[in-house]
Symmetry: C2
Subunit: 487 residues, 2 copies
């Protein structure tokens, strides 16, 4: 830790072992989970989504995310929708849906649904459901890996219904606490001054029977310690995926894709060829996440060597592929984060106007990275890489509706240690920039370019020598550098 | 129009009669529609959602929007999900769902579903389905308005399946165009140079039989003109809701809620009292849209006179209410836009960190307003009003995860004609500011404040005299003013 640990963060952050996610903004736990299991065939991520988060748009569309998981090459996400019925103060949408509505909705999303709601025997109910879910996951994976994939496999989802604030204080001053919004965060706010609340607090805390859980010296009793796994890989906080799983990307020689000085070349066409080679060199550790603009952005040379990983399309299903194209910038961003923070490398190309859609997610990611860099036991991970085209400076047939250069500003507002904006002047410089960014660690990289042919000002050798150092924004951002000097 | 009409916009915009929406970013047609029908009991909005847009998060959660429509006081949205199977280049999620999956999903969302896919007789199929849908809407509304509301009413949704590029060119150079992504936007890109494409283009355009539709003088034939309604209210482009339906808000005297100079007062508590009075004065033309932070933001005095309009909560259902609390900033923003652009006034209070989630939607809204102001036949509409609390300068129990002041910057990046940021220094100034903003027209207004008690520096009279003029950001933004000098 860079500074003294003067306080614990209010929400989950990089200082919490096992975390790959900054708390605060809700809505992308599910898409981050899908990104984490991609190309991790033995990993099962259990993703708990509250019924508050479930109301967000990013979550509502992320339930479709399983349709982009190839059971041959990737692991599985086991979503647990936890319905307690209330948000900060209003009832939730899911809390007001009955079992039939819930089952229909998630069946429509493509899942098989199991509802856990037996409050009298919740531990057994949940344990049995988890076993069922893991068996179903295995069944889908084994079939696919044996070359007999199930068409449109129905992955399991668990829906857990418990009252909000369950086992906490029941009532106070005549108002329900358990089973109501009053149990959100601080159920007894006046325990310091109100003797009735203090007594309720005492009664509640004693119900945990701490004296049975701890020894007189203050450590956990043997029975508790005996369930802690000895295998570090089985401890959530020590999983390599979340701490030190970085797999350096092998960048091919970008000069193979370069063009002659004085010619005309589309930056994106050149980058497409480079990405094609990158995919060949990194068949299981590099992916592209795009909101359906890969061909429009002229990066389609990648399709010479790979496909789109959309399992629900029966025609192409099961062939895998390094490209996810889904018209949800939120899902693209979430999957990219999950994929990157578990040690792999990704790229998110999009139009200028649409990267701003995930501006706050990008900022939350940068907060995570800031704290991760300052947390000693965390090793570096790859960078979050964006390519931005269709800028206001060179629009295609779109006009005012498609202009919004604000994403550049959003990134320049971050600490220079964390973020870079590149405006490469030609195709050769763009190639050099992409190769650099894919190798860089712990950054948010934004590369701004054009898809139409533009003059090539520098030879490959000149680009190699001057391009990165010559980009003014890079120089500007470098002032406070030092984290990552060797790439 | 301010300048000459040198070009038609590439996507729908304010210059198109009947429009209340800027094209470009996808995902909020549905929430805007729900906002438009609120407090418009006789209005039915038919909202066509493509299967590309349907993949976005904002749309995925907006299907729940009908649960916030009280059939007594509001009209209805008839969503038509148009599935043609392809986005720009990839298959769509909905295009790869069969009828059973589609029916289950939308039944789970709470709808009754009718699928229109009879290509041989599509006009009759769609017409019959529209009639069915309108009858179902009437049935739900009549029951509720007769005091016998249907519990969890199942509003209709139509799912229309047609091939992408239907009736356009079938094939070119051995590749499918109709029924494939090749028909996106420009199906025959090389018609200018390729004789085969030119011939196909000619064949296609002739298929519309223009000679049967137009007279020799170039006007439409009588049969066409006979279907144009004579009643202007029945012409989409002349509906008052979309052009000149502004209903000025009655702002109560804010000084009634003011506090003495030298005291301590929470700005939000004072504003809550003012909003309570505003709701009393404008029982059918003012609403609050909040991502579940109204009580947390200490604006809950409004609940003395109104409730939350969540129909799916059987306990409170049918009581109506001026507050929508849904944990989706995207839905809040979309509903607010639809409500505002059809002539009413709304307010969107939220935490600093979360308004940035809808930053691009706000920018698209401002583009619409810019063009609307420049379009002569459009009359002014109310402003889009935000209150931002829990700022980095005065956080509650949340920390780093909840800090992001970028929304201020996003608004200051807009033209000063369109946008205002207010930082009122105390509760009296805040009251004066809110009263001012609710009356203002054609602006995006951001009011930044605190929910904890802070010193009151100015008496109500001093606040009245100096507050708006004294706010530095306001003065800064006023430089290029002139649109709206009288409020």
């Amino acid at each position: 830790m860079a500074g003294p640990l003067s306080a614990v963060s209010s929400h989950v952050n990089a200082q919490v072992p096992g975390t790959i996610h900054e708390g605060g903004e809700l809505g992308y736990a599910l898409s981050v989970s899908f990104g984490a299991v991609m190309d991790n065939p033995d990993l099962v991520v259990t993703c708990v989504v509250g019924d508050g988060e479930a109301e967000t748009g990013p979550t509502a569309t992320s339930w479709h995310g399983h349709k982009y998981i190839d059971p041959v090459e990737s692991g599985a996400v086991l979503p647990i929708l936890h319905i307690n019925g209330f948000k900060i103060s209003e009832r939730t949408i899911f809390g007001c849906m009955d079992d039939k509505e819930i089952t229909e909705l998630f069946t429509g999303y493509g899942y098989q649904v199991r509802i856990v709601a037996d409050l009298a025997d919740i531990d057994n109910d949940l344990a049995a459901s988890m076993e069922w879910a893991l068996r179903e996951i295995k069944r889908i994976q084994q079939a696919a890996r044996a070359g007999q994939p199930i068409v449109k496999p129905r992955w399991p989802v668990i829906v857990l219904r418990t009252p909000k604030g369950w086992t906490g204080p029941k009532k106070m001053h005549g108002e329900l606490i358990e089973g109501s919004f009053h149990s959100h965060q601080v159920p007894l706010p006046n325990a310091k001054t109100d003797p009735e609340e203090l007594s309720s607090l005492k009664h509640w805390l004693l119900s945990y029977k701490a004296h049975e859980l701890f020894t007189k010296e203050g450590g956990p009793v043997k029975e508790i310690l005996s369930v802690v796994p000895t295998d570090p890989h089985k401890k959530l906080g020590q999983r390599k995926e979340a701490i030190n799983g970085y797999i350096p990307v092998k960048t091919p020689d970008w000069k193979q894709q370069a063009v002659g000085k004085g010619s005309q070349e589309s930056c994106m066409k050149a980058v497409g060829r480079f990405l094609r080679e990158t995919i060949k060199e990194n068949p299981h550790t590099f992916r592209i996440f795009s909101p359906d603009e890969l061909v429009s952005n002229k990066l389609d040379a990648v399709f010479d060597v790979t496909g789109r990983d959309f399992q629900w399309d029966i025609a192409s299903r099961g062939q895998g592929g390094r490209v996810i194209e889904i018209l949800s910038e939120h899902i693209c961003q979430g999957m990219l984060q999950g994929y990157t923070l578990t040690g792999r490398t990704g790229l998110f190309p999009s139009y200028e106007a649409f990267l701003g859609i995930i501006h706050t997610m990008m900022v939350q990611y940068a907060k995570f990275t800031k704290m991760a860099v300052e947390t000693k036991w965390r090793e570096p991970h790859g960078s979050l890489n964006y390519i931005e085209t269709s800028t206001w400076a060179r629009q295609e047939h779109n006009g005012f509706s498609h202009q919004n250069p604000s994403f550049i500003g959003a990134i320049l507002n971050l600490k220079p240690k964390l973020a870079r904006v590149y405006l490469p002047p030609d195709a050769n410089c763009f190639l050099s920039t992409v190769a650099h960014c894919l190798r860089a660690k712990n950054y948010v990289n934004l590369m701004v370019g054009s898809k139409q042919p533009t003059p090539v000002w520098l030879s490959p050798e000149e680009a190699d020598q001057h391009c990165i150092a010559g980009a003014s924004v890079w120089k500007f951002a470098s002032v406070d550098d030092g984290v990552n000097p060797d790439v």
